[in-house]
Point group: C2
Amino acid sequence: MIVVQKFGGTSVGDVERLQRVAQRIVDTRRAGHDVVVVVSAMGGTTDELVDMAAQVNRRPPQRELDILLTAGERISMSLLAMAIEALGVRARSFTGSQAGIITDTVHGKARILAVTPERVRDALGDGDVVIVAGFQGVSRETHDITTLGRGGSDTTAVALAAALEADVCEIYTDVDGVYTADPRLVPAARKLDRLAYEEMLELAAQGAKVLQVRSVEFGRNHGVPIHVRSSFNGSEGTWVVPQEDMVEDAIISGVAHDTSEAKVTVVGVPDRPGVAAGMFTALADASVNVDMIVQNVSSDGRTDISFTVPRGEVEQATELLGGRLEGIGAADVIVNPAVAKVSLVGAGMKTHPGVAARMFDALSRAGVNIQMISTSTIRVSVIIDDAHVDDAVRAVHAEFGLGADAIVEEQGAG
Amino acid sequence: MIVVQKFGGTSVGDVERLQRVAQRIVDTRRAGHDVVVVVSAMGGTTDELVDMAAQVNRRPPQRELDILLTAGERISMSLLAMAIEALGVRARSFTGSQAGIITDTVHGKARILAVTPERVRDALGDGDVVIVAGFQGVSRETHDITTLGRGGSDTTAVALAAALEADVCEIYTDVDGVYTADPRLVPAARKLDRLAYEEMLELAAQGAKVLQVRSVEFGRNHGVPIHVRSSFNGSEGTWVVPQEDMVEDAIISGVAHDTSEAKVTVVGVPDRPGVAAGMFTALADASVNVDMIVQNVSSDGRTDISFTVPRGEVEQATELLGGRLEGIGAADVIVNPAVAKVSLVGAGMKTHPGVAARMFDALSRAGVNIQMISTSTIRVSVIIDDAHVDDAVRAVHAEFGLGADAIVEEQGAG
């Protein structure tokens, strides 16, 4: 059996933790499995390197920033290999490039185009534990080192698992698995045993930080079973699996929230074909990541268009649109950074009408005003004032009986 | 004109120094030259990484140690490129592997087998300043990352200069050039303006730390002019050049000393052909670096053989020989770690007899006892008690009138 295990920065944050991770890897190897480990930089390292870069150049060139940041995994991967060898098991570490993680050329958020893990396979064939640097690859076109963006090690792990046809990709983290909501906000939140790729995708895309969205896409596209579990104990975590492996669709799987975006409204846009397209093409060309888009009903041939973007990209978006107001024929650009997105996700939603209405009602009773709404077949998202995010998540979580207590209560009542 | 500039760890020890180095590089570029920069890890980084390795594994596997250590240059090279870009000049950094530094597979002290700097040439063609990580390469056979040993960045620089047919290889350091002796031991020591490769080779091999031995060999074999100069000022340093470019051979160029070795004596070795060969073949197979070897005159068919090795390899050497005493038929192995080597170097020695005798006489007058002697055509080395190394170096330096004062005195007397 081939097992891919991914350990994040907190799991290897100091020598003691690194040694605990090494022991867990050795146990898996001694149980007779072929083990490939993907490791992130030791906790805090990446931030330190970013700080150093900022000291020498306020706008460091992305190519060089990527080279700098990949030093972090180089350190953690070689130390982890040494720690494993200290326990009497042979280990060999490879950079993303050496492990065949081939990407496009978009420095800072490159996409994996192919995985050619010949050296990994050879090392497994020799009986070695293989350690691979997460978060990084090499560009097919320029042969330059690239990074995959925050959380990119998850994607490295799942992509490698797919290429090696591994039996499981274990994502070790500092929580026990995927919860019905962030347990820091909702103490009653319950750990999910199983989740379909589509649900995990929506949860991750809507702010659940436990897995990078692209890693789930890779898992879904290649059918890799993903097991999200704690690096601090041996308990079963959450399995992310194909829809057909779900015994029963829960109506609602969980509530996600995201306070990292801001709302931008372009006021008085002429209601003509092509105007919105022009605006969002310009934003896309500038690599601004637009998330939700809502256009109000037009009156007097004019409309307001609102959308959300990561807070770090607000300045770029408003500068770009501000300079085109005249061309667009719009009146103004207004920014509201103090917003939060709350999303309800569940595969059973498809066959259960009325979920959105019940969510809006619960928010209304909790005194939370809704600014924007967006839905997919298995998700309902709302934009609200970020001061109300805790209340909103708790109200929705309770309304749909997602908590551990709620379930016991229902069972008692049944 | 192609200029290769090498900056060591102290030259890029913090952000401010890094920026000063960037300014110097930019000045060279703006003077119209093609500039290739070889950079070491920021001062202290390599030691920190070695410490971390020791924490997780008392005997870290060399392959993994090499991967770990190369993170140091990755950080300094990308930061330096960023600092140069901040000054408005385009810069691109390359790892040893990317720059085509091809080595053998001896981790920790790999030798450069070839340099294929296609990417460096392309980047120069684009008008970019090129930064290359010193100290590291990639093995031709295993494709693994290798390191060249302490001081390896000098060799990277000279080897690159040779491959690029550069006009000069400038080695920037924290001293003004090559001195007639270590100025910390001999305040009267004088900076040399010019030195032949052979002399520099002997000085470096005998303990002068200003250049790695192999870098000088590369320079000699490929005729690369090496300019050793200060990174803190613009003064001319010391040029290391072919013998034929020396205006006149100085009888003596300088005095080197080395306190990093220990003396090992095998007592009572049978004086038969093949016994010594067997001993030193075994040591070589175990990669123990034997330096001086002296065999005393035999009596009763037995002899004592003494040799020096780096102090870090004494244990290995004695274990190896201790286990073979019976096979060799020798009586004992004795170690003396408290020794120093003092060497007198000068190309003019070839045609001036009596230099060795004059050196031994000076040492005798200074009360220094000689334990071992070894000579080449342009060098005389002695092993002495390391408590006397300062006295010995000063005595020899004064005897041959190498100091600045001494010269003035002689001129005054002439």
